[in-house]
């Protein structure tokens, strides 16, 4: 009897902790995006500033914290056999969100290591693309939160993700076209295109996750 009582109490406290962990994980995704936006701006304007490296280091720390949280959530869901019907969906979701954080971090590292030389004429466009990508992921964060609390809003929020993904595609195409129409050498063009494409891919991944979330929410509603 007492064993059962204790396990019930522990179930409710575990649940609260897990809810907190998931919220924190989504917060990290959102914060990494905001940090990325600042990093790109800082890189373009003050690339030799030491502040840039500190910011990249901070993103790395956030990424590693997200990894730890993912593992904790994964263990808790399996050990406590929580949400048996939605467990695989939630774990896949967290895995894909973690990949998204990894993509942000990867981009930061590539900027830090390869130091691409973006001429000033492209700065505005690159910042614009980055802002759209971050807005796209912000909308995804809302979609994720609504999946856990309010499945009816998932579709609305996912729609915003799709909207920003399309915006991002337009900005990417326009920037890539401008880069290749410029007088830069081909190797530099290719290098810049690589960065622009990598940033745009974050949106593609966000849209894929939003699509998954719509399916998961339909599964939950039936």
């Amino acid at each position: 009897m007492f064993g059962l009582k204790t396990s019930k109490i522990s179930l409710f406290s575990d649940t609260k902790k897990l809810e907190k962990d998931i919220d924190e994980f989504v917060n990290i995704l959102s914060e990494v995006g905001l940090a990325f936006k600042s990093i790109v701006r800082t890189y373009l304007t003050h690339s030799k500033n030491g502040n840039f490296d500190e910011m990249v280091e901070k993103v790395t720390e956030m990424e590693s914290k997200a990894d730890t949280i993912t593992k904790e959530i994964e263990h808790a869901l399996y050990e406590e056999t929580l949400i048996p019907d939605a467990r695989s969906d939630v774990l896949r979701l967290l895995e894909h969100l973690d990949e998204l954080i990894g993509m942000y971090q990867g981009n930061c590292y590539h900027f830090s290591i390869q130091k691409p030389d973006f001429p000033e004429e492209f700065h505005e466009d690159l910042i614009g693309l980055t802002e759209t990508v971050v807005s796209c992921v912000e909308s995804l964060c809302l979609t994720v939160r609504s999946f856990f609390r309010d499945t009816k809003s998932v579709r609305d929020n996912a729609h915003k993700v799709t909207y920003f993904e399309k915006e991002s595609d337009i900005k990417f195409s326009s920037l890539a076209r401008r880069i290749f129409n410029s007088d830069l050498k081909l190797d530099q063009k290719m290098h810049l295109r690589y960065f622009v494409e990598k940033i745009d891919r974050i949106c593609d991944q966000a849209e894929d996750i939003a699509d998954e979330l719509i399916i998961y929410s339909i599964k939950r509603s039936v």
């Binding site: 059962l4 019930k8 179930l11 409710f12 649940t15 609260k16 897990l18 809810e19 998931i22 056999t81 929580l82 949400i83 048996p84 019907d85 939605a86 939630v90 999946f147 856990f148 609390r149 309010d150 499945t151 009816k152 939950r220 039936v222």
Partner: protein, 350 residues
């Protein structure tokens, strides 16, 4: 207590074991099948509350069953229990959720025919009618609860994980209620035939309360049910929880709750008296089938979701089991009564 009496009581205990293995599995089947509650926890809670239900509220349905056939000789009661227990065991072995209610009614009819006793067709009709009403009522109740619950959850915006924790707790509570109702409603199947010939005497506990001979009978019946739960109910739990319809944990809770409400309605002397006091028709206190209540609940949810996901072949197989079981049990009972009468020279009726 004489050894022969104990031996005959074993028939009832065997039926109790069958009830635990099959009917009690219904109570926690959806919870265990959806992996929301582990089998051990389900078995412990189920056993405790079945015993409580049997001892505290088991008298009402026993009276009705007694009217159907007042078996007045221990060998007769033994034959009925063994026949019912054996046929339920056969069904349990094939994973079909049948009910001891159907089996014991079949056995009593067999006893009536064999001994030439008159069958109270009024009572028989009431029992048969409840077998039709019970799954329909459970289905309707589950649809109502499910719709209300879905609306409440959508409005309250509970976190998925918290909802999971609440559902688990609710499943345990509904399961406990279901087990109590099952004990109250179905103990009549197990020990009802022994009530008129109970070998026990009332026990006065320090002038504080009295444990009647019937309650003692129901207690050992309840213990037999608990043994059935622990030793043999797992397979039926998974049939109920998975095979008929892929259930979500929330549906599992709704089904257990509606099943428990239906069983409680047909076992509660309080509700029946209350309705009578309001000049309303009383609910007949009849041992209904927990399997029918559960399957009715599952199909109700299935209908609500469009009916496409219900495995109708499984539902059909279960329904055939419900029709076949009383007939088989009746034949087996008559066969055992024949053996006891003509081979062992025992009186199966006084």
């Amino acid at each position: 207590m004489e050894l022969t009496i104990l031996l005959f009581l074993l028939g009832g205990l065997f039926l109790g074991w069958s009830l635990g293995a099959n009917d009690a599995a219904n109570v926690f089947g959806t919870a265990v099948g959806t992996r929301m509650v582990n089998f051990r926890t389900a078995a412990i809670i189920c056993s405790i509350f079945v015993i409580l239900g049997a001892v505290i509220s088991g008298a009402g349905t026993t009276e009705t069953l007694g009217k159907l056939g007042a078996i007045n000789a221990l060998p007769g009661a033994f034959a009925c229990c063994v026949a019912a227990g054996f046929s339920v065991y056969l069904m349990t072995k094939s994973g079909l959720p049948v009910s001891t209610t159907q089996a014991i009614v079949g056995a009593i009819i067999g006893w009536n025919i064999f001994t030439g006793s008159s069958i109270d067709f009024g009572v028989l009709t009431t029992i048969f009618a409840t077998w039709i009403i019970c799954p329909i009522l459970a289905g309707l109740i589950s649809i109502g609860i499910y719709i209300g619950l879905k609306k409440f959850i959508a409005a309250s915006k509970i976190h998925l994980l918290r909802l999971d924790a609440y559902t688990r707790a609710a499943l345990l509570l509904a399961g406990a209620f279901g087990a109590y109702s099952l004990g109250a409603n179905n103990i009549a199947n197990v020990m009802g035939v022994f009530v008129n010939i109970s070998p026990f005497t009332d026990i006065n506990v320090s002038n504080f309360f009295i444990i009647t001979s019937v309650q003692q009978l129901f207690l050992i019946g309840g213990l037999a049910i608990a043994v059935g739960v622990f030793t043999y109910s797992k397979k039926v739990m998974f049939t109920v929880g998975n095979d008929l319809l892929k259930l979500s944990p929330l549906s599992a809770f709704v089904i257990v709750l509606s099943h428990s409400i239906v069983l409680f309605l047909f076992a509660s002397q309080g509700i029946s008296s209350f309705l009578t006091s309001l000049n309303l028709p009383a609910i007949p206190l009849v041992p209904v089938s927990s399997s029918q209540a559960i399957v009715g609940g599952v199909i109700g949810i299935g209908f609500l979701k469009g009916g496409k996901e219900v495995k109708w072949s499984v539902a059909g197989k279960i329904s055939i089991g419900w029709v076949v079981l009383p007939i088989i049990t009746m034949i087996i009972a008559m066969f055992i009564l024949y053996i006891l009468t003509y081979m062992f020279n025992l009186n199966v009726v006084f």
